[in-house]
Chain length 263, copies 2
Amino acid sequence: VPATWIDADLLVPGEAKRVVAVVQPSHLLHLAWYAEPGQYWTSRENLRWVKATVDLAAAFVDRGGRRLLGVGSCAEYEWAEGHCDEGLTRMAPATLYGASKLAAGHMTGALASQAGVSAAWARLFFLFGPHEHPARLVSSVVRALVRGDDAPCSEGSQVRDFLYVKDVASALVAVLEHDISGPVNIGSGRPTTVKELVTRVGDLVGQPARLLWGARPADPVRRLTAATERLHRTVGWRPAFTVDAALTETIDWWRARERDGRA
Amino acid sequence: VPATWIDADLLVPGEAKRVVAVVQPSHLLHLAWYAEPGQYWTSRENLRWVKATVDLAAAFVDRGGRRLLGVGSCAEYEWAEGHCDEGLTRMAPATLYGASKLAAGHMTGALASQAGVSAAWARLFFLFGPHEHPARLVSSVVRALVRGDDAPCSEGSQVRDFLYVKDVASALVAVLEHDISGPVNIGSGRPTTVKELVTRVGDLVGQPARLLWGARPADPVRRLTAATERLHRTVGWRPAFTVDAALTETIDWWRARERDGRA
């Protein structure tokens, strides 16, 4: 099936209804949100995206949609808990971004449920890959190293769940095509320290000495990892990429970009 | 301090900002919401009230507000859990109303938190008292009995936390004046069956035989009671009314209303 692109600004009132009327979709995978690094944690844009998301979900269920998947975040959890389980961990977001994603997930779930529409909410953890904003962890380190610059890092003992964007994409499709309902963490299920991951970047680029450990403050959240029983057992999805394969593709992409002088 | 009334429709864009600019309040107790019996569980009006609530909270924190108290509901909890604890019970609302209140609570809390404003979220359970909509439990029974009619009731073994509206009002003021943050259940802390409460109504009106037990279907939620440690111990608030005193005031109010022919 060839893809059809339709441009729409979901922040414009009425646009969600218009697009849904044109497409009459059976399935909805909703990824759009405000995500400007350094801004999105606290921006009031989050409030506008809650409304845009809810408007889109309402239009979708009103026009005969059958399966809805929205995209949330590990920022919805109480970070003090460390390991995030969809059914057990407290939901006490520390940020307006996390609170807004949680709010959007609850509201779209309730809208779908009362219309008899199947709905799930994918919670993303730590992503990396080509096209990532250069201010983020993996992209900033890879970019510095392929340029031959130093890469200032935190001391790196924080534990996270990292996942390659191509695996994130295939996981979202798997959840969309399944009938699981409610929140589903999208994670590798392999807790990793920042230091382990960034060390692999240094080794794969061949510039381990350029990593300046402790040159940046570490995120005070010690551990933020994903329970993945729902994704790996219930949905039956597993990552296709090893960490090395994923980092190699990411490094190759940044090298090509630097070579082309588009940086 | 004499009260000043200002009329405003918070669903009209810009009204929240206007009112806050006029009043410049230090404290905000926000009760407005859509609450039409039979409609409010599923109505899309809930979505509009999430936005209105968030807009009001944003205007309040932007104009130097210091303490915000919003009003939520026991419908925010996963009802299968029975006893509702602010810190432990799963938040999985069964209704759009519950999801919307939960969403509004998270978003106003995050808006306040990042502005350094103190905020709490009061979760109401089962209220009764004068001025209640005649379609609700206590009001429907009292009204029927004072008219000399039969009062069809469910079998009544469901367990709930009931609280008199005057106690609810004083509890809200106590929470507003405290600095507790996050969700606070507003409850009596005395789990009661519907049958116990309605039996007292029958006895106090002197019409116990008019109660037709089992004539209506019972709510399938067996137990919905409030953990009240935060309200009773942390805030230090206790109800002032006994059940009998509260029911007597309610019955007297309905008797006067029926006598005046305003029913």
